[in-house]
């Protein structure tokens, strides 16, 4: 009798254990299903408050990017998914950006969209935010940490490599070139330059006369190129790794009365217009401004429980002689010193998120 009782209670205990275990497994699975994206815990409900932590709002590229962000937020507000957008501008100071993101955590925003002022400096504050279940979408200038919901970018290495390939082809693998870079110590300029190196190494006929490092602005680039023109009578091509740099270079050649040479660049309106006007041999790619809109869209999708990829690689749109007219046709919709970006819509975003 006693024996039987013992066995039945033992069986009951085993049964209980099994039920609890099954429950745990179920809970774990449903947890995954509710919040498949990194950082998102599934406890935040629409409409969401979004923080846009910008490093520096003054450059035209940033203003246009912010334009795509506010346009996207307006769309999402209409859909009842977003209630508020908080914008900060760290005025170029990574330390201030840390302070802003900390304030966004303090204000308990639901998502933070960020362009990093330093690839490493924000790591700790961003992982703090991630721990609090805030969806973090980082684009353009990326952070080091992987404790983010998604990183969105084009490939800067590929940018440099593709630009170098085009120039080498134009020159038939032989000639003297000048390389124009963005500021030293910035990951983006560093990566673009690095991407170009294997192509240049593989073509021994290409000789680099010298390189410039300037801000991504027309005036300093023009000044740098002007002094190089005085010093070098023979220049066969310019490998420029930024649109304003290219415009500065073309203007310098023009003012000095030198014949234009093949040049790479970016979708800066000024460069594209000079390209057409001077009949340049040109090539350009871009960092699409709508990466901002895509980031907001991605953050909201993640908060809504959709699974978004941890890294979204956006293919580089290329502008060449065949497509430049389609860009210049839309030029008047963009600021004179701005960037003419390729078209985007929700279908494109969904396609990119489905990678």
């Amino acid at each position: 009798m006693i024996n039987v009782n013992e066995t039945s209670s033992g069986a009951l205990r085993r049964l209980l254990k099994a039920t609890v275990a099954a429950g745990l497994v179920l809970a774990a699975f449903s947890g995954v299903a509710n919040a498949a994206s990194n950082c998102v815990k599934g406890d935040r409900k629409a409409p969401y408050t979004i923080g846009w932590a910008n490093i520096y709002s003054v450059p035209t590229w940033m203003k246009q990017t912010e334009g795509t962000i506010t346009a996207e937020v307006d769309e999402l507000k209409k859909a009842g998914l977003v209630k508020d957008l908080m914008i900060t501008d760290a005025q170029g100071n990574a330390q201030t950006q840390i302070q802003h993101i900390q304030s966004m955590i303090d204000a308990n925003v639901d998502a933070i969209v960020v362009i990093a002022g330093s690839s490493n400096a924000l790591d700790r504050v961003i992982s703090d935010a991630c721990d609090k279940g805030i969806a973090i979408v980082n684009f353009d200038s990326l952070v080091n940490t992987d404790k983010v919901t998604a990183k969105i970018n084009t490939d800067s290495n590929e940018w440099g490599g593709e630009a170098a390939k085009w120039l080498v082809n134009q020159l038939g693998g032989k000639g003297k070139i000048i390389v124009m870079n963005g500021p030293a110590g910035i990951s983006v300029s560093d990566d673009r330059r690095k991407g170009a190196q294997p192509v240049l190494d593989a073509n021994k006929g290409i000789e680099i006369i010298t390189e410039t490092n300037t801000e991504y602005n027309v005036a300093p680039a023009q000044e740098a190129m002007t002094s190089l023109l005085f010093a070098n009578q023979e220049i066969d091509g310019v490998l420029s790794l930024g649109g304003a740099l290219s415009a500065g270079s073309v203007l310098a050649f023009d003012r000095q009365g030198r014949e234009q040479v093949p040049i790479t660049g970016e979708n800066a309106r000024q460069f594209l217009e000079l390209w057409k006007e001077k009949g340049l041999k040109g090539w350009a790619t871009m960092q699409p401004n709508w990466l901002g809109a895509l980031s907001v869209y991605t953050a909201v999708q993640a908060l809504e429980g959709k699974s978004v990829p941890a890294f979204i690689k956006v293919p580089l749109p290329v502008i060449d002689d065949s497509s430049i007219d389609s860009y210049l046709a839309r030029a008047d919709k963009f600021p004179a010193d701005g960037y003419i970006y390729s078209d985007y819509d929700k279908a494109l975003f969904d396609k990119l998120l489905a990678q």
């Binding site: 908080m86 005025q91 330390q95 840390i98 966004m104 204000a107 924000l122 110590g185």
Partner: protein, 320 residues
């Protein structure tokens, strides 16, 4: 008897020095109260710690700048020194040197660069602004050579210790302010003010002007480099250009705190208060929901206001 009269004199001097700062104290207090109303979380240990951590490096570089301005000098190399401090910390701490070696290296480099700069300014009698401008280019270059792009390593425990959820940074600031107070009581400390206020008079009273200058540049260098060390710990890594904005901000904070450009005028507590205003202002504007463009304008207005209020209080007092 003697002691009583000297402490009476001390009190009177401190009162007079504080008087010009009352307006600034009021402005800063008003901002702190406003911040606490907008974000009550600041009153918790965690909230207070995070806020003071963001303020701490600015406080340090402001002290580094004020130290020189009180002495009649100025430095444009603060930002690059912060970067270099961060780079050295992030490149040495992961190696065989370890954390103690890294701290020593940062202090040694700050001290060395400061002393050399001071020696050039004092012994060759060159203007500090030119020497430190040149120095800033050299130091930026060296930082970029050591660490061409952000990276390096700072042990996690050090980051957590200095910039975790405890107010260690704030306590360190109190310690440093205490050390400054003690330093001021030494003949060398007193000489900093004397040499800045009236170099000829100080020289005739036996103050070794050159030595004082070199020492203040060296101390300033140590403070800036330590700010870099803290930034490295706070961010968990080194960045060769992260310090750049500190140069202008350190001058702004010191001037805001009533430190004059001509030397001998101003107090360290005022300068530190000025840096606190610059820091709390950022958070208050965030919680008030100012758009970035308005923040630029508001920032300018607050700075002008913070300088104008004390000046007008003084005028009003003089007229009464």
């Amino acid at each position: 008897m003697n002691r009583a009269s000297s402490s009476g004199l001390y009190g009177a001097i401190q009162r007079r020095r504080n008087r010009g700062l009352v307006g600034l104290y009021l402005v800063v207090a008003a901002f702190l109260v406003l911040y606490a109303v907008l974000f009550p979380g600041i009153l918790t240990i965690g909230g207070f710690s995070k806020f003071t951590q963001n303020w701490f490096p600015l406080a340090l570089v402001t002290m580094a700048q004020a130290l020189l301005m009180l002495n009649g000098g100025i430095t444009l190399a603060i930002g690059p020194l912060v970067s270099l401090g961060a780079v050295i910390a992030a490149t040495t701490m992961g190696s065989a040197f370890g954390v103690p070696g890294g701290i020593l290296a940062v202090v040694a480099v700050g001290l060395g660069i400061g002393a050399v700069t001071g020696a050039i300014v004092a012994l060759l009698r060159l203007p500090a602004i030119i020497v430190t401008l040149a120095g800033s280019f050299i130091i930026t270059g060296v930082a970029l050579i050591l660490l061409p792009r952000p990276g390096g390593f700072v042990p996690g425990w050090l980051s957590t210790l200095l910039a975790g959820h405890t107010p260690v940074a704030f306590l360190l600031l109190l310690v440093i302010l205490g050390l400054w107070k003690i330093f001021l009581a030494t003949p060398l400390g007193l000489a900093i003010y004397a040499a800045g206020d009236n170099p000829v008079g100080a020289f005739r009273s036996g103050v070794p002007i050159e030595r004082v200058k070199i020492v203040s540049f060296a101390l300033s260098g140590v403070l800036a480099a330590l700010a870099g060390l803290f930034v490295a710990a706070q961010t968990g890594s080194g960045d060769p250009i992260i310090g750049a904005p500190f140069t202008l901000n350190s001058i702004a904070a010191a001037v805001l705190g009533g430190v004059g450009f001509l030397g001998g005028k101003g107090t360290m507590r005022g300068a530190v208060c000025g840096s606190l205003l610059l820091s709390v202002m950022i958070n208050v504007m965030f919680f008030l929901g100012f758009p970035p463009v308005a923040q630029y304008v508001a920032q300018g207005l607050i700075i002008v206001g913070a300088v104008a209020v004390p000046a007008h209080l003084a005028l009003w007092r003089a007229a009464r």
